[in-house]
Subunit: 225 residues, 2 copies
């Protein structure tokens, strides 16, 4: 059960809200949950963990894939207001890949459990259109990161990553280890360290223990073109 | 306009067929086209080329992405009976990535133009469900190839590629240059050549000008585990 403010919030986010019957609306309201996660906690743990539609109330979630030997690659992030439908995998026909979501900052989400989402999907075309749209948004996110990984040289990718991170953190100092960055980028720590050393020699960044300071964002930006 | 045999074929493939009105069925039949492509011809040329839903009647299509400097990576193939919806991109909300399709063998497709597909999608939930399902099938294909590229060592990937290709061609001889293989795998020719030389030294394959003969499939198979 969620409160009135949260009902306002989700009814705004769920474009199909007005097409629901009063009973359906009541069902969603009574079954939805507000859940808090502290930074680093797992929010969604692969196909078997089919919990439902997630709407990010605040904080920041990271969606990633995971190899057998523990290598991670970040696919996309979810910020305030954004919706994840992949976490309702079992409500989606023919989805057969695993992905994982963790809280990258302390976060609050509203969860609409899979059973209720499946139920309202069955006979409501607006819900189907919504599912389609959100799925394609994520599909596009994945295609973007895939093209980046396959086609973009590593200096370009690292420069973009640092600039993105700096704008997310609203700070020129990025508190991440080389290992963290390698994880996000699906690369090896050595490769990240080598490129950061090059960036430092060029005066673009200054690396310190556990952090990287962006010294010349203009130059970093120029690499990304 | 398509003939009766093709109408039978598509009405079987389009799971929503029975939910259509007689007028809608007639519209689809009258607007659908049977198109032939010779091997190597372009079937779909990115977002601007929003031609419609493709059903493969026979032959083989290859879907790939393309970098600014002409590098290609194969995402998935479409065989007899299979459906591509990404080629109806403008009928899909929030799809914003480019992909390309070419005929990998002489092929025949049935094309349901975007305008008619969009039209029947608007008010028919079964069509929306179908769109959703086909989209997620392709999304899953892309995730699979992405995990392969990111997580699998190159010897494993190359062995799998050769075995797949051999089973597609129904032959132990694969008529492809190292350059062709590199293109398919999103790799460089040098990397492919180096690994094939290793495979040859191990007695798994024999490379000849323009072709590769699989000499020990069992061994190749054992690499893929």
């Amino acid at each position: 059960m969620i409160n009135n403010k949260d009902i306002d919030f989700i009814s705004n986010k769920l474009e199909f809200w007005n097409s629901l019957t009063i009973t359906e609306k009541k069902q969603i309201i009574s079954k939805s949950q507000l859940i808090s996660y502290t930074k680093g906690k797992s929010v969604y743990d692969g196909l078997d963990d089919c919990r439902g539609l997630i709407i990010v109330k605040n904080g920041q979630l990271r969606t990633y894939i995971l190899s057998d030997n523990g290598k991670e690659v970040t696919l996309y992030r979810l910020f305030h207001d954004e919706i994840c439908i992949m976490s309702a995998s079992c409500a989606l026909n023919n989805m057969n890949f695993d992905l994982y979501i963790e809280a990258e900052k302390d976060s609050e989400i509203i969860l609409i459990p899979t059973d209720i989402y499946s139920e309202i999907s069955k006979n409501n075309i607006e819900v189907q259109k919504f599912t389609n749209k959100v799925t394609l948004t994520r599909f596009s996110d994945v295609m973007w990161i895939m093209e980046q990984i396959l086609f973009m040289s590593f200096d370009k990718r690292l420069a973009m990553f640092l600039l993105d991170q700096s704008s997310i953190e609203k700070s020129d100092t990025i508190y991440m280890t080389h290992e963290d960055i390698a994880k996000h980028m699906g690369s090896a720590r050595e490769v990240v360290s080598r490129m950061l050393k090059y960036f430092q020699n060029e005066g673009y960044v200054k690396t310190e223990r556990g952090s990287i300071i962006l010294k010349n964002k203009k130059k970093l930006q120029s690499i990304t073109f």
